[in-house]
C-alpha cells in the first residue's frame, strides 16, 4: 500500500520542515492540481465502449 494521501501528507510535512512554512508545499500542490486537470480533460468524449476490448 502507500497510494492516495501518503504522498500529500508526507510532501506537505517534509516541505514545511525544510522551509519553515506551508507556502512552498501549498504552491506545489496548486501546480500539481493544475497539471492534473489535463486528465479529466483527456477523458472528455473518450468512452471506453468505442475501443476494442480483450475478452477474458
Amino acid at each position: 500500500m502507500g497510494f492516495g494521501g501518503l504522498l500529500g501528507p508526507l510532501l506537505i510535512a517534509r516541505i514545511r520542515e525544510a522551509t519553515g512554512s506551508y507556502s512552498g508545499a501549498l504552491t506545489i500542490i496548486a501546480a500539481v492540481m493544475l497539471a492534473s486537470s489535463l486528465l479529466p480533460l483527456a477523458m472528455c468524449g473518450k468512452n471506453v465502449r468505442n475501443e476494442p476490448v480483450r475478452a477474458s
Partner: protein
C-alpha cells in the same frame, strides 16, 4: 465468466428473458441495449439461469436502505471519541489506540475489493449482510478488550474493517444500477451517508461513554450497527440486466456517455481509462488529505489564530467533506463526470495557490471548506464515473480496486 447477479432478485413475479416485464414492475427492460464486452448478449447471460425473478421494487426505498447502511459504516470516523476514554481507562498510548482505526481502514481497502468481486457472484444482499455481521460483531466484541490491546486490534480493527469494506461497496455498486438516470446524485447520496455517520454518532457515543463507560458503549453501538446494516442490506438487490426506469429516455448526449456493454474487472484493467480514473481519485485524495492532515497547525501559522480556534476549522471542513460528496456528484449528472473533475481540479489549483496569503481566518476557512468539498466530491462522483465507462454489472469489483487510491491516505494521516 462471472455472471451478473440475479439470485438476489427474490421471487414473487417471474418473467422470461425477452418477454414483457410484469405490469407491477417499476421499470423497463432494455436487454437489447446491454452487452457484455466479450460480445455475449444480455439474453445469453440470462439463459444461464433461465429466468430472472423480480418483484415490485421502489428504488427510493433501496436508496434509503443504502443510506442507513452508510450511516452505520460512517460511524467509524467517530473513532476519535473513544480515543481519550480508552487511553485513560487502560493506560494505552494515543498512538496505540489510534492504530486500531488505521488497521480498520487498511482492512477496509482490501475488503472493498474482495466484496466487489464476491458481490458479482452472489449478489449484494449476501455480501451486505455478512459485512454487517462482521462490522457489528467486530465493534461489539471490542467491548471485551479491557487490558487486551491485541483484542481491540483484532475485533474493531480486523473484523470491523472487514465488515466495513465488504459493506461499503454494496449500496454504492447496487444503487448505480437502479438509478441510471441519476448516477451521480445517487452515489453522492450513498457516500454522503458515510460522511454523515460520524456527525450523528459522535454526540451519541460521547453521551453513552459518560453514562455507561467506554467499553459498554462499544458493545451497545456494535449491536446497533449490526441491526442497521443487516436491515439495510436485506433490502439490497440488483435490477434485472438492462433495466431502466419506466419512461426514461436518455438524451443522445447522455446515451453517448453510458457504456453499452459491461466490462469485467480484467477487461477494465486492460483499458487506460481505469488507470486514468485511479490517478484522478489518487490526485484528488492527495490534495484533500494534505489539508486534513495539517489543518489545525496550518490555520495557526497562516492566520495566527489560537490552537483552539484552529481546531474548530477541523470540524467545519469535515462538514464540507460530507456536503461535497452529494453536491459535486449531483452536479456531475448535469455537466458530466469529466467536467466536474475538471472544475474541481482547477478550483483547487487556484485555492491552493492563494491559500498561503490568506491572513483572514474566515477566508482561510472558506478556502479549506471548498477544497474539502472537492475531496468529498471525488468519492461521490467516482463510482458514477466508473459506471459510465465500464457498465454497472461489475462496478463493485472495478470501483472496489480503485479505492486502493484512498485507503492508505487515511492511515498515513491518522497513524
Amino acid at each position: 465468466m462471472d455472471l451478473p447477479d440475479s439470485s438476489s432478485n427474490t421471487s414473487e413475479e417471474t418473467f422470461i428473458p425477452g418477454a414483457q416485464p410484469p405490469s407491477e414492475f417499476t421499470g423497463t427492460r432494455m436487454g437489447h441495449r446491454r452487452r457484455v464486452a466479450t460480445g455475449l448478449p444480455a439474453q445469453g447471460l440470462l439463459s444461464a439461469r433461465e429466468t430472472i425473478k423480480a418483484r415490485p421494487t421502489n428504488r427510493w426505498l433501496l436508496a434509503g436502505a443504502g443510506v442507513v447502511m452508510q450511516l452505520a459504516f460512517g460511524a467509524v470516523y467517530a473513532w476519535s471519541v473513544f480515543l481519550n476514554p480508552l487511553v485513560k481507562a487502560f493506560g494505552w498510548s494515543n498512538s496505540e489506540v489510534t492504530l486500531t482505526f488505521s488497521i480498520a481502514i487498511l482492512v477496509l481497502g482490501f475488503a472493498a475489493f474482495l466484496g466487489g468481486l464476491w458481490m458479482s457472484r452472489v449478489g449484494p444482499r449476501t455480501v451486505g449482510i455478512v459485512g454487517g455481521l462482521c462490522y457489528g460483531l467486530g465493534v461489539a466484541l471490542s467491548s471485551l478488550s479491557a487490558d487486551r490491546l491485541w483484542l481491540l486490534y483484532l475485533s474493531y480493527g480486523v473484523l470491523g474493517g472487514l465488515g466495513l469494506g465488504l459493506g461499503y461497496i454494496v449500496p454504492v455498486a447496487t444503487l448505480v444500477k437502479w438509478f441510471p438516470d441519476r448516477r451521480g446524485f445517487i452515489t453522492g447520496l450513498a457516500v454522503a451517508g458515510f460522511g454523515a455517520g460520524a456527525l450523528l454518532t459522535a454526540p451519541v457515543a460521547a453521551g453513552l461513554i459518560a453514562r455507561v463507560g467506554v467499553l459498554q458503549t462499544l458493545g451497545i453501538l456494535g449491536i446497533v450497527y449490526l441491526v442497521m446494516v443487516v436491515a439495510g442490506a436485506s433490502a439490497m438487490k440488483n435490477p434485472p440486466p438492462g433495466w431502466v426506469p419506466e419512461g426514461w429516455q436518455p438524451s443522445a448526449k447522455k446515451q453517448a456517455q453510458l457504456a453499452t456493454r459491461d466490462f469485467t474487472l480484467q477487461q477494465a484493467l486492460s483499458t487506460w481509462q481505469w488507470y486514468a480514473l485511479w490517478a484522478i481519485l489518487f490526485l484528488n485524495v492527495t490534495a484533500g488529505i494534505s489539508i486534513i492532515s495539517q489543518a489545525a497547525p496550518m490555520a495557526g501559522e497562516i492566520s495566527g489564530v489560537s490552537p483552539l480556534v484552529a481546531a474548530g476549522m477541523v470540524g467545519i471542513i469535515s462538514i464540507s467533506n460530507g456536503l461535497g460528496r452529494l453536491l459535486w456528484a449531483w452536479l456531475s449528472d448535469a455537466v458530466g463526470r469529466p467536467g466536474v473533475f475538471l472544475i474541481m481540479f482547477l478550483l483547487q489549483a487556484m485555492l491552493f495557490f492563494f491559500l498561503p496569503a490568506q491572513r483572514d481566518f474566515a477566508i482561510l476557512v472558506t478556502f479549506a471548506f471548498v477544497i474539502l468539498s472537492c475531496y468529498g466530491g471525488g468519492f461521490g462522483t467516482m463510482p458514477a464515473f466508473a459506471t459510465d465507462y465500464f457498465g454497472p454489472t461489475f462496478v463493485g469489483s472495478i470501483y472496489g480496486l480503485m479505492l486502493t487510491a484512498w485507503v492508505s491516505g487515511v492511515c498515513s494521516v491518522l497513524s
